[in-house]
């Protein structure tokens, strides 16, 4: 074992570069089912272009069958010759279906799909790295890619061939085929997922009978991802396909589609790995809203329900999506949602994470959003004022403070009378809030005492309930009287404290002074 340097002993964690190097070494996986009997050696067949046209079809079939032989790519030295023959044959087949007309006779369909199924449909291997972080780590690449890539290429050319007849192909490209294809989207290899995306899109376009089925299965994959496994590599690709599908939905939207939006797309926002597919997801959501603006309110309420509480990166993404939605929102819809929405935005601008605050404050650079705010300034200003005013003094980041001043100025210009009112009532409002909080604490303290004074409840055994009930009332009477006295005291001290802290604060006067010219 090599000598270990002192620094390595100290932190005990291997350097990232070392970890990376280790990973690199084994970033080759294969999922081909490896227990099949050893491959037979392939012998090269004559070239299709050299064969007389009468024999071409037969040779085509033979080549397809030859390509059903699978090889072990984890072992890079075995069957080199046969692997090369298969590779060349696949290349030739790709070429053959993309450049020739009239090669897709009915009898070829089962042979073609058979070859494709044998090669691409497999159970994906366990991830080499169980804590695979798609943003940080290198994906495990499919070892048999040299062959699989060509098979995908072939499938694509097959689907795109002008002679391709869905009415014949639907016997082979059926629900089972699609289901297996969808499972492959979990592949860690981005090259494979990219091919799958294009292929599924072609299939969705050509096989009308499979459309509903495909949508339903994608639904299931997403629901499993959200509620069961939280793991699926192909979410972004599937969403990309859906983005273009949604575009084509007929109006009015079917209940099925609305359900998909509300019960699948919105909950997808809860995923830990949102950053990997957020762009595609937001695109889908906006597509829906452009189709049917009446969905705006439930969508925004849904986003507010799942608003990230601890993850700032996700919060920035949510704000980005909200802006995209606001870009297309109708003023009537905006009115319906402005209050809860701006309560959230006012929390965001006050976020100690400056990127969150900054992202929220950028809304004020958007002309359309500004016009919406201006139209509803009497509703929005009271919601926003408190936190803007507070952070204009308290935020640690000077950029944010500067942005906040600009925003306050903009808002003031929109309705300076209201602004002045809010400025002068700010202190009183804060005091009231504090008092209210105090009162609430008191209330719960009382209830707690009530519970503690009631041994039966503590033991969660309520056999003597009626008599307990009486006790209870007596107790609460006493408590009430006592606490009321206490309350008075508490309130006084709180008031004093609140005044004191506000005096410490730098005063509102800056903003108030600025507002005077406008008032005149």
């Amino acid at each position: 074992m090599s000598a270990i340097s002192a620094s390595e002993k100290v932190d005990g964690f291997t350097r990232k570069s070392m970890r990376k190097a280790q990973k690199q070494r084994k970033s080759q996986g294969s999922s081909q089912y490896r227990t099949q009997s050893a491959p037979v050696e392939l012998s090269p067949l004559p070239q299709l272009k050299d064969a007389p046209s009468t024999e071409q079809q037969e040779l085509f079939t033979q080549k397809l069958q030859q390509c059903c032989m699978l090889f072990d790519f984890l072992d890079s030295v075995t069957d080199l010759k046969s692997k090369e023959i298969k590779r060349a044959t696949l290349n030739e087949l790709v070429d053959y279906v993309s450049t020739n007309r009239g090669v897709l006779v009915e009898t070829a369909y089962p042979e073609i799909t058979d070859m494709i199924c044998t090669n691409i449909f497999r159970t994906l291997p366990p991830s080499e790295n169980p804590d695979f972080d798609p943003e940080e780590d290198e994906p495990t690449l499919e070892a048999s890619w040299p062959h699989i890539q060509l098979v995908y290429e072939f499938l694509l050319r097959f689907l795109e061939n002008p002679d391709f007849q869905p009415s014949i192909a639907k016997r082979y490209i059926d629900q089972k085929f699609v289901l297996q294809l969808l499972e492959l989207f979990d592949s860690e290899d981005p090259r494979e997922r990219d091919f799958l995306k294009t292929i599924l899109h072609r299939i969705y376009g050509k096989f009308l009978g499979l459309r509903a089925f495909i949508r339903k299965q994608i639904n299931n994959i997403f629901l499993r991802f959200i509620y069961e496994t939280e793991h699926f590599n192909g979410v972004a690709e599937l969403l990309e396909i859906l983005g273009s599908i949604i575009n084509g939905f007929a109006l009015p939207l079917k209940a099925e589609h609305k359900q998909f939006l509300m019960k699948v797309l919105i909950p997808l926002h809860t995923a830990k790995a949102l950053s990997l597919f957020h762009a595609q997801l937001a695109y889908c959501v906006v597509q829906f809203l452009e189709k049917d603006p009446t969905l705006t309110e439930p969508v925004i309420r849904g986003l507010l329900k799942f608003w990230p509480k601890t993850c700032s990166q996700k919060e920035v993404m949510f704000l980005g999506e909200i802006e995209e939605i606001l870009d297309v929102i109708e003023p009537t819809q905006f009115k319906k949602i402005q209050e809860p929405l701006f309560k959230q935005i006012s929390k965001c601008v006050a976020n100690p994470h400056f990127q969150v605050a900054e992202r929220a404050l950028y809304f004020w650079n958007n002309e359309y959003i500004l016009s919406l705010i201006e139209e509803n300034i009497d509703k929005i200003l009271p919601i926003m004022f408190g936190s803007l005013y507070r952070i204009s003094k308290e935020h640690w980041n000077p950029t944010i403070v500067a942005l906040v001043y600009n925003v306050l100025k903009t808002l003031m210009e929109m309705n300076c009378t209201l602004f002045d009112e809010l400025t002068s009532s700010y202190k009183a409002d804060r005091q009231r809030e504090k008092k209210k909080e105090q009162e609430r604490d008191e209330l719960w303290k009382q209830l707690e005492e009530l519970r503690l004074s009631n041994p039966t409840l503590v033991q969660n055994n309520c056999h003597g309930l009626p008599s307990v009930q009486n006790n209870n009332n007596n107790n609460s009477n006493n408590n009430n009287n006592n606490s009321n006295n206490n309350n008075d005291h508490q309130d006084k001290s709180v008031d004093a404290a609140a005044v004191a802290t506000d005096d410490d604060d730098p005063d509102v006067s800056v903003a108030a002074n600025e507002s005077t010219p406008c008032a005149k």
């Binding site: 074992m1 270990i4 390595e8 002993k9 100290v10 005990g12 291997t14 089912y33 490896r34 227990t35 159970t123 291997p125 366990p126 089972k176 289901l179 299931n220 629901l223 499993r224 509620y227 069961e228 019960k263 909950p267 439930p298 309420r301 329900k305 209050e339 809860p340 309560k343 409002d429 009231r432 809030e433 209210k436 009162e439 609430r440 209330l443 719960w444 009382q446 209830l447 707690e448 009530l450 519970r451 009631n454 039966t456 409840l457 969660n460 055994n461 309520c462 056999h463 309930l465 009626p466 307990v468 009930q469 209870n472 009332n473 609460s476 009477n477 009430n480 009287n481 606490s483 009321n484």
Partner: protein, 625 residues
């Protein structure tokens, strides 16, 4: 229908529910409650529900959560009658909130039976729980099902049929998958206590869910199949369950198939031996060779349970070859799961043919796994392989297993070596550890110097055990230096563990041994230029004084500690105070008064406030003031 209606109204109700209340409104309601609380003439029993409602509508989730968590307090204050007629309807109608609040509610309601008036009224809890069982979020739904299962036991058989079973049926035929998923967990709790007509209906519902359109529901049904089979009459197990089992085990999705493997254990346990071959084995064989590694993994993972469930004959004929295949599986995950089961599988083999099966069928596979390409496989094997020695006896162990142990002790992966060392006691019982000691030493030394401190920590923890097994001479000769070297490790956790290790060694080898081998070295570190090492001396003294006894502590350790009170580093000085407090009880009162007291008094006037603090603490604990 009631439920569906409610569900349809959900979003609308939600609007009202989340409608932001103005500050004024809120102020009003809080003060109203306060005045009610203060007013002697008001109806005081009213205030808890008012508080609850007000708090439940608060914008702040935390406050809503608080009030839900205190639901039982409120219910108690309301009394059973009003809890049933006002609180529960209120909760049922307004269920639309953050999942966190719903989770708390689902949990609370499971313990509410007494608060609504006992078993007689327990069915009042069903409506809110039914709604919660249809929620999207899995944790909420699962909690609601858990609570429903709990309160089902409190229903009388009549109430179960009148109230509970209809709920299960409604859930089972809900249009969104969540309610059907929840239904799967409720069949088995009501089945045993209902009439035979209702039983037939329940079986029918379960059957339908097993072939549900969505894989989520099929997975839920498959995971409850074993549990449901257990409450069914044997005839129905044979007629109904087996066909469901077979269907689920050949589902198109591997996530469903693998759950059928789990059910296989329960089903096989229920059936008489003569039926197993025809009813269960074909499916099990198929699962062991499934094309998805996840299913094969599940078979490997459940292998001991399966083995017990199918009995010795089938084990000999079927499971042995299946197990061999799993040990040779192409996916490392599967091999690792199977390797984990090697010992248990061998232990549970029928005694008459155990040795023969192990020697001819299992051991060859095990030998291959020792040099597996995947470290998880090797380390899984290393954690159980030593257990084979007790099964195979001395001669076989020496001839066949010892070479494997030795190979694993030299494995490149520290986890493998560690797993071998941590299980040495099994071998010790059979052949004695001496056989291994030559290979053991280099392995231990390497682990002791591993770059990962967690590996070093793990090996330290086995030191006392090893010392006991290897004997004092071997230890002094080979391992003592290691134990001392850990005391100056760069990582505090290692130094701490090393200190603790010394204490255990002294307990094992006695005070005299300590005096000769350990104490001088430990005390020598008191002069080290590194203050961390000087502190280690103090920590060792803290740990060793009791085991070493009064004589050694007073004569050898105390002078060193007292001398260190003049150390220039404050951390050392306040640790002197702490050490004196710690070893004080071991010392006699003379030493305490004449030697310890003056030093502590001096430290109590130290310039550093921490030193002062700990010195004063020691003075008061040792009652020297």
């Amino acid at each position: 229908t009631n439920l569906q209606q409610r569900r349809r109204e959900g979003p609308a109700a939600a609007l009202l529910w989340q409608k932001p209340r103005s500050a004024a409104q809120q102020r009003h309601s809080v003060t109203a409650i306060l005045s009610k609380m203060a007013g002697a003439d008001g109806d005081d029993s009213l205030y808890p529900i008012a508080v609850l409602i007000d708090e439940l509508r608060n914008e702040d989730v935390q406050l809503r959560l608080n009030s839900i968590k205190k639901l039982s307090t409120i219910a108690l204050a309301l009394g059973v009658e009003r809890t049933r007629t006002e609180l529960l309807p209120f909760l049922t109608d307004t269920i639309y909130d953050e999942d966190e609040v719903l989770l708390a509610l689902a949990e609370q309601l499971g313990n509410f039976t007494m608060l609504v008036g006992g078993p007689e009224y327990v069915h009042c809890l069903l409506p809110p729980l039914e709604s919660l069982a249809t929620v999207e979020e899995t944790v909420v739904r699962d909690k609601a099902v858990e609570s429903l299962r709990k309160i089902s036991q409190e229903h009388s058989p009549v109430d179960l049929e009148v109230h509970f079973e209809p709920l299960v049926k409604r859930l089972a035929s809900g249009d969104w998958f969540t309610s059907r998923t929840s239904a799967c967990g409720l069949f088995s709790v009501c089945y045993p206590r209902v009439s035979s007509t209702v039983k037939a209906e329940i079986r029918q519902h379960f059957r339908t869910l097993c072939s549900d359109d969505t894989p989520m529901v099929r997975r839920a049904a498959a995971s409850k199949l074993g549990e449901f089979a257990k409450v069914l009459e044997l005839d129905y197990v044979k007629s109904d369950i087996i066909s469901l089992f077979t269907a689920l085990a050949s589902d198109e999705q591997d996530s469903v198939r693998l759950l059928a493997v789990e059910a296989c254990v329960s089903i096989a346990t229920l059936l008489p031996q003569e039926d197993l071959e025809t009813l269960v084995m074909p499916t099990l064989r198929q699962a062991a060779e499934d094309k998805s590694w996840r299913v094969r993994y599940m078979v490997a993972d459940k292998f001991s349970e399966l083995q017990k469930a199918v009995g010795p004959e089938i084990t000999k004929n079927d499971l042995v070859p299946a197990f061999q295949n799993l040990l040779k599986d192409c996916e490392a995950e599967v091999r690792a799961a199977a390797a984990n089961k090697v010992k248990e599988f061998c232990e549970n083999l029928p005694e008459d043919s155990r040795e023969q099966i192990i020697m001819t069928h299992i051991l060859p596979c095990v030998k291959e796994l020792v040099s597996d390409t995947n470290q998880h496989v090797k380390s899984a094997l290393a954690s159980v392989i030593m257990g084979l020695s007790t099964i195979l006896g001395k001669d076989n162990t020496i001839e066949h297993l010892l070479p494997l142990f030795l190979a694993q002790l030299k494995d490149e992966c520290p986890e493998v070596r560690l797993n071998i060392i941590s299980n040495l006691d099994c071998v010790n019982e059979v052949i004695g550890i001496r056989q291994l000691s030559q290979s053991l030493l280099p392995a231990i030394v390497e682990l002791a110097e591993d770059a990962k401190w967690r590996v070093r920590l793990a090996i330290i923890e086995y030191m006392p055990l090893l010392a006991g097994q290897l004997g004092v001479e071997f230890f002094d000769e080979k391992l003592n230096t290691l134990c001392m070297a850990w005391l100056i490790d760069h990582v505090y956790a290692i130094r701490e563990a090393a200190t603790c290790n010394l204490m255990k060694l002294v307990e094992k080898f006695g005070a005299e041994w300590a005096q000769n081998t350990i104490v001088p070295k430990v005390l020598g570190m008191a002069n080290d230029p590194n203050y961390l090492h000087r502190m280690t001396t103090l920590f060792c003294i803290n740990a060793l004084s009791e085991a070493c006894g009064q004589d050694i502590t007073t004569k050898q350790m105390l002078p060193v500690v007292l001398k260190m009170s003049n150390d220039q580093v404050a951390n050392v000085r306040f640790n002197v105070a702490k050490s004196l407090q710690k070893i004080g009880p071991v010392l006699d009162s003379n030493a305490l008064q004449t030697e310890v007291k003056p030093v502590l008094e001096k430290l109590a006037t130290d310039t550093d406030m921490d030193v002062k603090y700990f010195a004063q603490e020691a003075i008061s604990v040792l009652a020297l003031a």
